[in-house]
């Protein structure tokens, strides 16, 4: 076959003239430097390739060679603790090879070929292997057991197994013969194309919450394991902070953190912080169950487009082992912009705001890869996706936010006004929503308390009342309101400042158990109930405020340590006593 030669170059888009023998989405090496690229359009005259690296210095006439398959990730032990770029090149290994600045054309294996893993083979000669079946395990990190599974499509009878012992990812551990008599060797790793979802047995309803320790999320707008959530917010509203916080504390087994077109220093921060943070559940650093994918904003734009898919494929792989994985994508807007940029270079007809018309379908494909499933091997696992959205000018009516809204069922809207007042997490309780609450209600009822949901509703209703009252207050001041409405405003302040606002840098407040969340709600509602009795007796609210109970509750999140929840009884008793005195007086 004739060699394929570059014909034209325009930014990350390269074309080849004539018939090429390549197929759509095939991964190719471009030019003398072997830059990684992918075929994205073909017709009789031209084959178009998007290149995942800087193209400067590339010249027409340089060769394009095929790799024979689509853009794939390598799945096997050694993924955890690693940090990859958008096309799964390990950045620490890249640093060793090319120094602190990323050079082009470095083809480094995604998994360290020399690392030895302590493998236990779990099948014996004569066993039938079906897709998804686990044939070997090895401890990948002290907290995660890696399970090597037969890739979809691999089927047969075991003819040979290796002794238990230490092997590298490319060593054969099992040999099988399929029904046609062909022999296949199974190693510790497998390849999977990033744009194709990994098959599952069935999708199951999402009925368990992802517990985050963030009050406004767990109580007000919970997300289910296997769900999808969007965090939209203008710059400076704390998207990245919220994502980091979720990654650090949520109760998923595996965290995949994708920094998609964001800041380099932030990725370094995630890297150091996750390494320093000791996971309370395992007593080990958080990195033992984390993968970072860092494609910062100055790294090639086409690799940014791929990074989201790389991340979710890794998440699906661990899901198939029976783990609950959570993937944070920061930010999907940068991914959409990469789509737009490449679409522009292809001179496609733009739709809304220059985005390609296929933006909604791409978003849908991506978010639909989240789910709570029964894997091919019968294990239950989930992929939860939390995508940050960065709407230009904090205008939520732009296409990426609007389309993301359609495909996620949980929407945590970050608010500039709250962020300016340093109310973090700046999740606006009026514009955010979750559709998971009805699915999760039985779980909360059984595991937290039967009254959890009614407390949540009362809190939500008080906040709603406050919002409408504030409209009046903004016009004429709070002095004119009757006392019962003033009370609503006061108690809503306690809810906002004492409950919804959370200090991630305070050691007691950074993670709050559901039990404490419930108790906090209860004591706030208790105060409200008792105060209502006072107001009904025409006792002026100023007297009530002088008791200092409201301010005490605002600070309870700091004053009541997480291991001394019995102190809530003292708070309730104090409310009863002080208000009782006022009633008798």
């Amino acid at each position: 076959m004739a060699q394929n030669l570059i014909y034209s170059i325009n930014g990350p888009v390269v074309t080849i003239k004539g018939k090429t023998g390549l197929s759509m989405m095939e991964m190719v090496h471009v030019g003398n430097d072997h830059l990684v690229g992918e075929v994205i359009r073909m017709d009789e005259e031209l084959t178009t390739i998007q290149v995942y690296e800087e193209t400067s210095g590339l010249a027409p006439g340089e060769p394009v060679t095929t790799t024979g398959g689509p853009l794939c990730v390598t799945l096997g032990p050694g993924i955890l603790r690693n940090i990859y770029d958008g096309i799964q090149r390990p950045l620490p290994a890249l640093e060793k090879e090319s120094g602190p600045f990323i050079a082009r054309g470095c083809n480094i294996p995604s998994l360290d070929p020399d690392a030895k893993w302590d493998v236990t083979v779990t099948v014996k000669v004569g066993d039938k292997i079906v897709p998804g079946q686990i044939y070997a395990t090895c401890p990948e990190t002290p907290v995660i057991l890696h399970k090597c599974m037969a890739a979809p499509g691999v089927e047969g009878t075991v003819t040979w197994v290796a002794e238990n012992g230490s092997y590298t990812v490319n060593d054969t551990v099992v040999r099988i013969t399929d029904k046609n008599g062909n022999e296949r060797e199974l190693t510790l790793c497998q390849k999977w194309p990033i744009r194709r979802p990994r098959p599952v047995q069935t999708r199951m309803p999402a009925q368990r919450p992802l517990i985050t320790g963030m009050r406004v999320v767990d109580t007000m707008f919970p997300i289910a394991k296997g769900g999808a959530a969007a965090i939209p917010g203008g710059f400076g509203t704390g998207k990245t902070m919220t994502q980091h916080q979720l990654a650090k504390w949520c109760d998923a087994d595996i965290i995949i953190y994708v920094g998609c077109g964001e800041r380099g220093n932030e990725m370094t921060q995630a890297l150091t912080e996750f390494g320093e943070l000791i996971d309370p559940k395992t007593g080990r650093p958080l990195t033992d169950r984390t993968v970072l994918i860092a494609n910062t904003s100055n790294m090639p734009v086409a690799a940014r487009e791929a990074s989201i898919y790389t991340g979710i494929t890794l998440a699906e792989y661990y899901r198939d082992m029976g783990y609950h994985t959570a993937m944070m994508a920061d930010s999907t807007s940068r991914w959409a912009e990469a789509l737009r940029e490449i679409s522009g270079r292809l001179e496609e007809m733009p739709a809304d705001e220059g985005y390609p018309a296929y933006l909604p379908s791409r978003l849908a494909e991506f978010y639909e890869r989240a789910g709570y499933v029964r894997a091919l091997n019968g294990e239950e696992g989930s992929v939860t996706v939390i995508g940050a959205v960065s709407p230009p000018g904090a205008d939520f009516s732009e296409p990426v936010t609007q389309n993301t809204k359609r495909f996620t069922r949980c929407f945590w809207a970050l608010d500039k006004a709250l962020a300016y007042a340093r109310h973090y997490p700046a999740i606006n309780w009026n514009t955010s929503y979750t559709e998971y609450i009805t699915d999760l209600a039985p779980w909360y009822y059984d595991n937290v308390g039967p009254d959890f949901l009614s407390c949540r509703e009362q809190i939500a209703s008080l906040l709603l009342q406050e919002t409408s009252l504030m409209e009046i207050v903004k016009l004429i001041g709070s002095d004119v309101l009757p006392d019962d409405q003033k009370l609503v405003i006061e108690i809503a302040r306690v809810i906002r400042v004492g409950f919804l606002q959370q200090n991630f840098f305070h050691d007691q407040d950074t993670y709050v158990s559901l039990e404490k969340q419930l108790k906090m709600m209860k004591v706030i509602l208790h105060l409200y109930e008792k105060s209502q009795a006072l107001v009904a007796r025409q006792i002026p609210i100023s007297k009530l405020l002088r008791l200092g109970l409201f301010d005490k509750l605002v600070k309870m999140k700091y004053d009541i340590p997480n291991d001394k929840l019995e102190m809530f009884d003292e708070y309730t008793a104090e409310i009863d006593q002080k208000i009782g005195e006022l009633l008798r007086a």
């Binding site: 010249a59 600045f101 220093n265 960065s390 007042a421 340093r422």
Partner: protein, 469 residues
């Protein structure tokens, strides 16, 4: 043998098309000689077969289809680097224009640079004291950070930048240098910076790159890249702490838009190219600190928001890339508050890890939070007062209003003074002490016991009334 290509097949604005070229590579520099003996440089921005689209930096005035001879240089845009570059004044492409002769290069580097591997970065933690309270306390500048100033035409952003340069702690050491890149600024502004650097006695540690308002706009696209390449060389090869001032980023973006539309690209928002975000990121992300190297690159880009609109694509995309922003406020500027820093939208994302015990002072973070929260209340009270009049406000709102005035006049409007971090933080507590202790809900009790000083309360009440009069 050097091939010369005679003539051109098309000229369109600053873009020309050259046919029949062999061995051209993408992003390569070309030299174009005119028959009158003058010479211009250009860059290949698109190749299709043997046809190249070339962007000419100094404009195409005087070009015709047959009076040019084009030579390929075989490499991308390079800038000459040598330790002697300090103290020099260069043009927008990094060539000396101060009449002091050529720079004898030790290195020549590609102006596009390469992205820093996130693994090789060191997370910036070392704060830079600027002596300006509103910045030091509320939007702390960190070494290795990119912190832009969002301003508007006619506001005092240049003065603020100069004050930062003069007062910044880094400026004491010998290993400190400034790279100043002017993009489309007026001659007077460039002069102002030059004079200020001279007055601050740092001129021998400044590299100036000037692409002034009347210089060709295409050159402007290279100016910040050349400046950052020089900065990276000074920082990571010579181990210096570099402060890069890029002004005015708005002119840069407009140049990019002009260039993009002449190439016939599909425009994004407000006609800016769809890749404006990636393009700006390729500049701003060149700030940082690298593991195992001594120096650092800190960036202060200055941009004037068209129509003071912070949602305009330029400030908007900048804010998404940079680690915070310092926003100037026209209202405050008009009432003579200097520096007119608009406190609420200003932010430094890196400050949380560079302040507190061991860096500044233990109370810094809660104090900053409380000042923000209280000042946000001031805005609510102001809004209410503008409807019902200040007299009708509740006692607590009135106190807050008083606090707001004192805060703007004393804390923000400090003028040309240089405050130590202790002075700044103490002043913050002094102001907070005008309010009742219960209203300080962002600070825990231990901190309040130590720093909250209600006895100075009355003194400040008086100040409040004085200011009112």
């Amino acid at each position: 043998m050097i091939l010369e290509h005679v003539g051109l097949s098309q000229i369109n604005g600053s873009l020309v098309v050259l046919d029949g070229v062999q061995n051209a590579s993408y992003d390569e520099m070309v030299v174009m000689k005119l028959t009158d003996g003058t010479q211009r440089v250009g860059r290949i921005v698109m190749i299709e077969g043997d046809k190249c689209v070339i962007q000419v930096f100094e404009g195409t005035t005087g070009f015709s289809l047959d009076n040019t001879r084009t030579t390929l240089s075989g490499h991308p845009m390079m800038v000459d680097l040598s330790p002697e570059i300090l103290g020099r004044t260069l043009d927008g492409l990094g060539r000396p224009i101060d009449g002091l002769g050529e720079i004898y290069p030790e290195f020549r580097r590609d102006v596009n640079g390469s992205p820093i591997n996130p693994v090789s970065r060191v997370y910036p933690r070392n704060y830079i004291r600027t002596g300006i309270s509103s910045i030091d306390a509320l939007a702390t500048l960190i070494r290795g950070q990119k912190l832009p100033i969002f301003s508007g035409s006619g506001m005092k952003h240049n003065e603020l930048a100069v004050q930062i340069v003069k007062q910044a702690d880094v400026s004491d050491g010998e290993d400190f240098a400034i790279v100043f890149a002017a993009m489309g600024v007026k001659n007077d502004v460039a002069d102002y910076f030059k004079k200020s650097f001279e007055a601050a006695n740092v001129m021998d540690r400044v590299v100036m790159l000037l692409n002034l308002a009347n210089d060709p706009i295409v050159e402007r696209i290279i100016t910040p890249r050349a400046a950052l390449t020089i900065a990276e060389y000074l920082a990571f090869d010579l181990g210096k702490n570099i402060l890069v001032i890029l002004t005015d980023m708005t002119s840069y973006c407009e140049a990019l838009r002009e260039f993009s539309s002449s190439k016939g690209e599909i425009p994004g928002r407000k006609g800016y190219p769809g890749y404006l975000y990636s393009d700006l990121a390729s500049l701003y992300e060149r700030a940082g600190i690298i593991e195992g190297r001594k120096g650092s690159v800190t960036q202060i880009p200055i941009l004037t928001m068209p129509g003071d609109d912070i949602t305009h694509p330029i400030p908007d995309l900048t804010g998404y890339i940079t680690e915070g922003q310092i926003v100037l406020d026209r209202g405050m500027d008009a009432t003579g508050v200097y520096p007119p820093v608009s406190v609420l939208p200003s932010l430094s994302r890196l400050m949380k890890d560079g302040i507190g015990a061991g860096y500044t002072r233990e109370d810094h973070n809660p104090l900053a939070n409380q000042l923000f929260a209280t000042y946000a209340r001031v805005q609510d009270a102001k809004a209410l007062a503008s409807v019902i009049g200040e007299e009708e406000l509740s006692a607590s709102d009135k106190r807050v209003m008083e606090f707001g005035r004192a805060f703007e006049q004393k804390f923000v409007g400090q003028g040309n003074t240089n405050r130590s971090i202790e002075e700044t933080l103490d002043l913050g507590w002094e102001l907070l002490s005008m309010l009742p202790r219960e209203e300080l809900d962002r600070v825990d009790q231990v901190m309040l016991d130590h720093y909250y000083k209600p006895q100075v309360n009355n003194a400040h009440r008086d100040l409040g009334t004085i200011l009112k009069k």
